[in-house]
Each structure stands twice: as structure tokens, then as C-alpha cells.
């Protein structure tokens, strides 16, 4: 389209190359951090550039110049650029935090040499899933980030991490198999896995088959995103990992599932056949999740349950299937990535100072570490949705969209959302009171707070505040993103300018490949 499309593959390529370099430097623990920090900073810059550029229209790269329906294409539109920017900012903060933690804990320095490459591969997988314009490439992106997350969640191989990790790994692999089955059936039904071409072909196939494909894809993504009946794995596995790992998982991995849901629901299956079911699931996710959080004593598990619960808000926005609903859902994803990650980072610091994550054991931290008290308080209020913070703006947008829909079900969801918000406030206030105000049981072991860890955590809390102050422009941006999602044509036209094939140079081969493809599709269409 224009000169800028060379930026599109960078968020995938830079971390992958850097991962290789970091792995090669495994004997040089001083060089590794430089490599990974440089790589993630470059990714952040590239994502910011994309965020600005794609506001004028999606950028498409046909990888290896293979024209789109046959070759793989990477597409950056407003939704993916926004997700990329938020996620690269979050990964950079988490990396800096973990560097400071590694410097401070000499005894944990052993697995650090594998930490950097894995973390970079995780970033590459997340970026690949966000940028991919091809169903199978999304699967590959998922697998890249899953493989990296397996290594990170079992880092060090202690008994507890292996125990928690085995559940995580098995559930993740099961959802991958479901996703693969869904892709196979999509290919059998339509003869393509390219998202833009699927958007053209799916309306032509049998409605029953289409519904089956939709259910299968949603099922696979719902496991990733931890939507209620499929969420039990999350609070069990996340809390045992090291604090920065939990933080980045909580921020990003479930949101990749949510992103995939938004993409498929808007582009491939418009019309909202399953919206009522999704609404009920959203309600169940919100309420069951937050009740779990209220019952928890361990603060990491408490936060994992609020994570599950707030996924319900995003599903609510998706299920509304209106411009307003998607706008609010996208804004909420951006808000939730930053605030949930920030909370987990702060809890990592609380664990360092208080020596425990159990709320019955913690106490008196307000005097020992007033900075933490402020950071946790701001992030917690943000998550609960206290005005004027960004959580309030996101929830307000969702509730408004729900009221605008004006069906009994959407009103039920609105009430459920408010109740969940109040219960979140209750759970987090209780946690704050216990950790910071109740008299301490024993003398805390360490009051040393490394600045390198507080800094990134504070930066993320700050990003949450920026989302509040930049709420107007950001909300307008997500509104434009949602509008393009509803229209669908900008995406399809960008990938397949003439409605049949992309802009790659492989004219001869692609033409022939295309004939076979069309024959295949014609047999079913």
C-alpha cells in the first residue's frame, strides 16, 4: 500500500531474532538483559508507529510476497495496533521488573539464562497472534506463546510449579487440539484459512455448518480466555509462577483469547447467532469469578479470580454485537491488561516485604512500605472501577451499551456488572485493609525495596492513569476501531484489493494456486 508496511512484521521478527541472540549469549548474563531490553523497546516503538499509521487504514504484508489467500499475510489494523502497543508496553515493564528482581535475588539467578529467550519468544507469539490475518497463523502464534509460557510457568522445576504447571499445560494443549480441529473443519468447508477470504466465503456455506465452526472456534478461544465453565484451570496455575511471570500471563495470555474472539466474531461470524449464550456465559464468568475472589485468603489467588471475573466484562461487550459494545470491550481490554499486570507486580513486591501472600499473615505494611500501599490502592480502585479511573470509563461504556440494547438479558448483565464491580471493590478493599492495616503477626523479614522493581510497577500503575486522562482520544480511537470491525470491508479490501487475491508478487504461481482454491470452494459454495 505504501512505504510503511515494512514495520508490520517487526513486532514478530525483532523478539524472535533477539531470542536467538539471547540464547547464544547464555554464558553472558550481563549482555542478555541488554539484548532483551533493546528488543522490547524497539517493539514498543514499532507498535507506537503502527498505532499512528494504521489510523488511516490497515497495513497488509504478504509474507514472502506470496499473494494473500495462498500465502500468509500479516494485517495491522486499529484493533491489532492498539493491542500491540499496550502489550509491548506491559512486557517491557515486566521485563525491567524481573531484571531488578534477578539482580536482587542472587539465589534465583540460576534459571535466568533461559528466562530471557523464553520471555522474548512469548512476546513474539503474542505479537504474531495479534498481527496474523490467517487462522492457521493465529494457531501458530498461540503455540509459540504457549510453548514459551510452559517453560516460564515451570521455571526452576520446583514441586509446586510442576504440580500447577501440569494442569496448565494439559488444558492449554487440549484447547490447541480443539482449535486445530476447528481450523481443519473450516478448511474442509471453505477451502481457505485466510481471514479476509473466510469473511467472503463463510456467508455462502450451510448455516448449520457455519454455526458448528463458530462454536468450535469459540470453545477453543474460551479456554484460552478463561470464560466461566472453562476457567477453573487459571486460578490454580497462575499464582505459583514467579511474580513477573504471573503478571505477564495475567495481562496478556487471556487477552489474546479475547482478541481472537473479537476478531472472529466481528469478521467471520457477524450477525450474532450465539450472542445470547455468550451473554449468559459473561454473567456467569463475572459473578462466579468474583465470588471465588471474595472467598480467597491468598492474595495472588484472589487476583487470579478477579482476572477471571473481569474477562466476563469483555465477553459482555463482545456479545452485545454493537458498535458501542465493541468500543467499550476494546477499551476495557486495554485498561485491564495494564491494571491487572500492575496489581500482580505490586503483589510481588508485597510478597518480598511481607514474606507471604496469605492475607492472614500479612499486616502492618502501610507503615513499612507506604509506596506499596499507594500503588496497590490506586490499581485496586482502578480495577474496581471507581470514578474517574479508567476502569470506571470502561465499565460505564459497557453499561451504557447494555442499557442501549434494552433487552431483559442485557439489563440483567448490566445489573450483574454493577454487582461484580461492587464485589471487586469489597474483595480488594478487604485485601488492602488486611495487608496494610491489620497488626502484623511476626516481624517482616525484609523492608528492602529495590527501586528497579518499584519503578516498573509504578510505571504500569501510571499507564493505567494515562489511560484515564487520555480517555477521550483513546475512546475515540477504539470507537473508530470498532466501527471498522462492524463495517468489515476495510479489512477485507486491504487484504484482497480485488476481492480475490492479495498484492504479493508471486503472480504466476498464485494465479494457479488460486484456481485450485476457487474450484475447491465452488464445490461447496
Amino acid at each position: 500500500m505504501n512505504d510503511w508496511s515494512w514495520i508490520v512484521p517487526l513486532p514478530v521478527m525483532i523478539p524472535l531474532f533477539a531470542a536467538g541472540l539471547a540464547l547464544a549469549l547464555f554464558r553472558r548474563p550481563r549482555l542478555q538483559p541488554i539484548v532483551s531490553v533493546t528488543a522490547l523497546s524497539l517493539v514498543l516503538v514499532a507498535s507506537l508507529a503502527l498505532l499512528v499509521i494504521v489510523d488511516d487504514g490497515p497495513l497488509v504484508v504478504d509474507v514472502g510476497d506470496w499473494a494473500a489467500p495462498v500465502g500468509i499475510d500479516l494485517v495491522a489494523d486499529r484493533l491489532s495496533a492498539l493491542m500491540l502497543t499496550i502489550s509491548s508496553a506491559v512486557t517491557l515493564c515486566v521485563l525491567l521488573y524481573s531484571l531488578a528482581q534477578g539482580r536482587d535475588d542472587e539465589e534465583e539467578s540460576a534459571p535466568i539464562s533461559i528466562y530471557h529467550p523464553t520471555f522474548l519468544v512469548l512476546t513474539a507469539g503474542v505479537c504474531n497472534a495479534f498481527l496474523s490475518g490467517d487462522l492457521f497463523n493465529i494457531y501458530v502464534g498461540f503455540e509459540i506463546l504457549l510453548a514459551a509460557s510452559f517453560v516460564l510457568i515451570t521455571l526452576g522445576g520446583t514441586g509446586e510449579r510442576i504440580r500447577a504447571g501440569s494442569i496448565y499445560v494439559v488444558v492449554a494443549l487440549l484447547s490447541s487440539v480443539l482449535f486445530l480441529v476447528a481450523i481443519a473443519l473450516v478448511y474442509a468447508a471453505t477451502g481457505t484459512v485466510n481471514l479476509a477470504q473466510l469473511a467472503i466465503r463463510l456467508p455462502e456455506i450451510d448455516p448449520g455448518v457455519r454455526l458448528l465452526l463458530q462454536v468450535l472456534l469459540l470453545l477453543a478461544f474460551a479456554i484460552k480466555a478463561a470464560i466461566f465453565p472453562l476457567s477453573a484451570w487459571l486460578p490454580d496455575s497462575y499464582p505459583t509462577a514467579p511474580a513477573p511471570v504471573t503478571a505477564v500471563f495475567a495481562g496478556l495470555l487471556t487477552k489474546v483469547g479475547i482478541y481472537a474472539m473479537i476478531r472472529t466474531q466481528t469478521l467471520l461470524f457477524p450477525g450474532g447467532q450465539l450472542d445470547d449464550i455468550l451473554m449468559w456465559l459473561a454473567l456467569a464468568t463475572m459473578v462466579v469469578g468474583i465470588l471465588g475472589a471474595v472467598a480467597q485468603d491468598d492474595i495472588k489467588r484472589l487476583l487470579s479470580f478477579t482476572l477471571v471475573s473481569h474477562i466476563g466484562y469483555m465477553v459482555f461487550g463482545i456479545a452485545l454485537s454493537t458498535d458501542a459494545g465493541w468500543t467499550a470491550a476494546i477499551y476495557y481490554v486495554a485498561h485491564h491488561i495494564t491494571v491487572q499486570t500492575a496489581l500482580f507486580l505490586v503483589v510481588g513486591l508485597i510478597e518480598r516485604v511481607g514474606g507471604s501472600t496469605s492475607l492472614t499473615r500479612l499486616g502492618g505494611l502501610a507503615r513499612l512500605a507506604p509506596v506499596l500501599a499507594v500503588l496497590f490502592f490506586v490499581a485496586a480502585m482502578n480495577l474496581a472501577g471507581i470514578p474517574p479511573l479508567s476502569g470506571f470509563l470502561g465499565k460505564l461504556g459497557l453499561l451504557e451499551a447494555g442499557v442501549h440494547e434494552a433487552t431483559p438479558l442485557s439489563y440483567t448483565l448490566v445489573v450483574g456488572g454493577v454487582v461484580t464491580s461492587l464485589l471487586t471493590l469489597y474483595a480488594l478493599t478487604k485485601a488492602w485493609n488486611k495487608a496494610f492495616w491489620q497488626p502484623p503477626e511476626a516481624e517482616p523479614r525484609s523492608t528492602h525495596l529495590p527501586l528497579g522493581m518499584v519503578g516498573p510497577a509504578a510505571a504500569l500503575v501510571g499507564v493505567g492513569l494515562v489511560l484515564t486522562f487520555a480517555g477521550g482520544p483513546l475512546y475515540a480511537y477504539t470507537d473508530r476501531a470498532a466501527h471498522a470491525l462492524t463495517e468489515r470491508t476495510p479489512y477485507i479490501d486491504a487484504v484482497l484489493p480485488d476481492g480475490e487475491r492479495g498484492t504479493g508478487d508471486s503472480a504466476d504461481i498464485a494465479d494457479r494456486g488460486n484456481e485450485v482454491e476457487i474450484d475447491l470452494g465452488g464445490g461447496h459454495g
Binding site: V70, T158, V170, L173, L174, A184, Y187, D298, T360, D519
Partner: protein
């Protein structure tokens, strides 16, 4: 034009692979779960192959008449999926072995914290008490001590200590 009628033998094979895979996935031991995952993965790969239509001539432009070529795209994707399955299998094997190293078994355990909360609920106590009645035992210790029921017999004898 590729013949899209699915091959019955392959379809039955896929069904058998999925059935056995799901059964094994529900087992306690991680090694059996691993075999279940492998079977499921192979079933899915085979399904993908069937989704690409019947086998045809090699898809090389210029050597073969175009109407009789096999569709190369699903084969390329299945190849990718097979490699991914291989990597994941290796990781699961390592995890099962590590679990056996640590605990002399490779059970996938129930959630220990959930069990603790359920125990308190059964006694009709508040989940969070003011005092530390149970927190003397950390989750890790509780998990190491806990054995969920396997299909038969006593737990493996302790040895090598």
C-alpha cells in the same frame, strides 16, 4: 477439481483416535494423559489431511495436469502441526519425569487450595479465620503429602531416599 468425498477408513481411524485420546486424557497419571494428548493430536492432524480432499498427483506446476493435483496447503499446515505436537510432547515427557523425580509419582493433582476451602465449608467455618489454624502447612507441603485416588492399588512404595 479435487475429489472431496472423505475416505471412510480414515474417518473411522480419526474417530477411534479421538475416543481413545479423550479416555486417556481423563486419567490421573500424567504419562497416560500425555499418550491421550498424542492420540488426540494425531487424530486432529489426520482430520486436517482429510479436510484437504482425496490424495492426488504431486502438486508441481508444469509436471502434472492441474486438475489431478493434490491440495498442498493442508499438507503444509499438517506438517507444521506435527512439529508443534512433537515439541509439546517432549515438554510433557520432561514434566512427567520431573514430577516422578520429585514425588515418585506423576499424578495430576486436584487443586489443594480448593480442597482446603471445601474442608472448611464442610465444617461450616469461615474460609478466612483471624488466627492461623491451618496455615502452619504451606500449599507446597500439602500438595506433596496429598495423594488423589488412582485407579487401583496402593501408592508406589517410597524408595531411593
Amino acid at each position: 477439481m479435487i475429489d472431496m468425498t472423505p475416505n471412510l477408513v480414515l474417518v473411522i481411524t480419526i474417530g477411534v483416535l479421538f475416543t481413545a485420546g479423550v479416555y486417556l486424557l481423563l486419567e490421573r497419571s500424567l504419562s497416560r494423559v500425555l499418550i491421550g494428548i498424542i492420540l488426540l493430536g494425531n487424530g486432529a492432524n489426520l482430520l486436517f489431511l482429510v479436510a484437504g480432499g482425496a490424495a492426488g498427483r504431486p502438486p508441481i506446476v508444469g509436471l502434472e495436469p492441474e486438475g489431478q493435483m493434490a491440495d498442498p496447503l493442508p499438507q503444509a499446515m499438517v506438517l507444521t502441526a506435527i512439529v508443534i505436537t512433537l515439541g509439546m510432547t517432549a515438554f510433557l515427557l520432561a514434566m512427567a519425569y520431573r514430577s516422578w523425580q520429585l514425588h515418585r509419582h506423576d499424578e495430576v493433582q486436584d487443586d489443594v487450595e480448593d480442597r482446603r476451602i471445601a474442608r472448611r465449608a464442610a465444617r461450616d467455618e469461615p474460609t478466612v479465620l483471624g488466627d492461623d489454624s491451618e496455615s502452619a502447612e504451606t500449599l507446597d507441603e500439602a500438595a506433596a503429602a496429598a495423594r488423589d485416588e488412582t485407579d487401583h492399588g496402593a501408592p508406589a512404595p517410597e524408595r531411593g531416599r
